[in-house]
Amino acid sequence: MDNELKVWRAKRDVTQGELADELDVSRQTINAIERGRYDPSLELAFELADFFDCAIEDVFEYEEGEE
């Protein structure tokens, strides 16, 4: 699953640590999502979209056949 989290974070001028604190996850988790190493749960994906006030598909892009 690809994502534009880094772009959205840069647009809002939010650090990984600040975003992590806001969503009650670790900074490593935000970093792992940005680097495509970890796919967040649906709940966290919605929370991220809510935080940036956009649709979930604006942040995450699912490609069929991906693991």
Binding site: D24, V25, S26, Q28, T29, A32, R37, Y38, P40, S41, L44
Partner: protein, 131 residues
Amino acid sequence: MWSREKRLLTVVLLVAGVVLGIGLEALADPLEEQNLAWVALLVGLVVFGGAVGHWGSRRFEESGEIDERFREIERRASRWSHGALTVGVGLLALVLLVSWVEVPVAALLWALLVGSVAVHELSVEYYSRRM
């Protein structure tokens, strides 16, 4: 995550496991004659280990680092440690059942117990870096 502390803990556990296994094997003969002391020692060790584990997990929970990614890492690591323990105990049982080889059962059981904890910690390290 407490990478350095975890690595240190893994080494300490491994050394403690080997020392404990050898020590218990050496103590087994004299203590078997005084059954109560033998049982008290084992119960004391298990209770102490449980208390330390409980304290460690409480401390980790309080650190606020536990989130969904960490739980996923823990789940994967548990699969490895559970597998290692099951295979180890299964092999030991097989050797005891079908062969005449004399094996130090107590030492091996302690090694398996501690070894599975070490496998768990190493797996957590591995998945923390990969995920």
